[in-house]
Assembly symmetry: C2
Homo-oligomer: 150 residues x 2
């Protein structure tokens, strides 16, 4: 696809895109999240070409998002989320919320979340890490930070 590399832009969105915004990557993370860890399993679930799956897995391992573990004396490997990768699941949860709200249609959401802490079926909401109040894009000012481009 001859895609431009975003990673060298002074923007955390662009940099994050560089890690996981290739086609299929978020769905691969989803599969690993729900317990699919092996090449053939993920390939069959997604219907992705084996070539592209190889590329994506290598990229995600190289970025430190997934970890490749041998699970057998034979050349058999499983992919596991690293801490860095597990924190990316936040992104997937927010995508789920938006997709559930705007795209699920009358059939309703395909998956429900039950929160361990309260036991209820629920969804995520964005809050301020400092005061704990809800925080959406309209509730903030953007200021240049230390890593801003000159």
């Amino acid at each position: 696809m001859q895609r431009t590399t975003f990673g060298d832009m002074a923007c955390s969105i662009a940099r994050t895109l560089d890690v996981i915004w290739e086609p299929w990557s978020p769905l691969i993370l989803r599969d690993v999240w729900v317990g699919m860890r092996r090449f053939d399993e993920i390939q069959a679930d997604l219907g992705i070409s084996r070539k592209v799956l190889t590329e994506r897995l290598n990229h995600l391992v190289g970025e430190g998002v997934l970890e490749r573990r041998k699970y057998d004396p034979r050349p058999r490997y499983e992919y596991h989320l690293t801490i860095k990768g597990a924190e990316l699941l936040d992104l997937l949860m927010v995508m789920v919320r938006w997709g559930d709200k705007w795209l699920a249609g009358k059939a309703g959401p395909p998956v429900l979340y039950r929160h361990h802490a309260c036991g209820e079926i629920t969804s995520v909401e964005l809050h301020c890490a400092h005061c704990g109040e809800p925080m959406r894009a309209g509730d903030i000012d953007l200021l240049p930070g230390p890593g801003a481009a000159v």
Copy 2:
């Protein structure tokens, strides 16, 4: 890129990908978010090809994420976020948080957020919409929902 369509999978992640996971789309939303609304302005900022920008804008307008508004008797148009689009900014904020933490390096984050409610420089955190407690991917059980595939 001859990309597979994700939209018909019974998965809100896949459906959301179909709307905004084309290359550049999240960056276009970011630009509109921070106040860039015109074709040439976005094109110059991103360095995206004019052809691809046209395609992306049309797609985003078609999905109801952006709205195209005439701002002059001449054929001049601006792009604005719809409500549906504004809610997508949640996703960008979570991307920013992850990128700031894992990819910003020693230079620090390029942009800071100040929360109107408390006035502090802060970042987003995911909380349960029901009980208000923090909620990460490890804090939930996944259950099949009404729209689950058979």
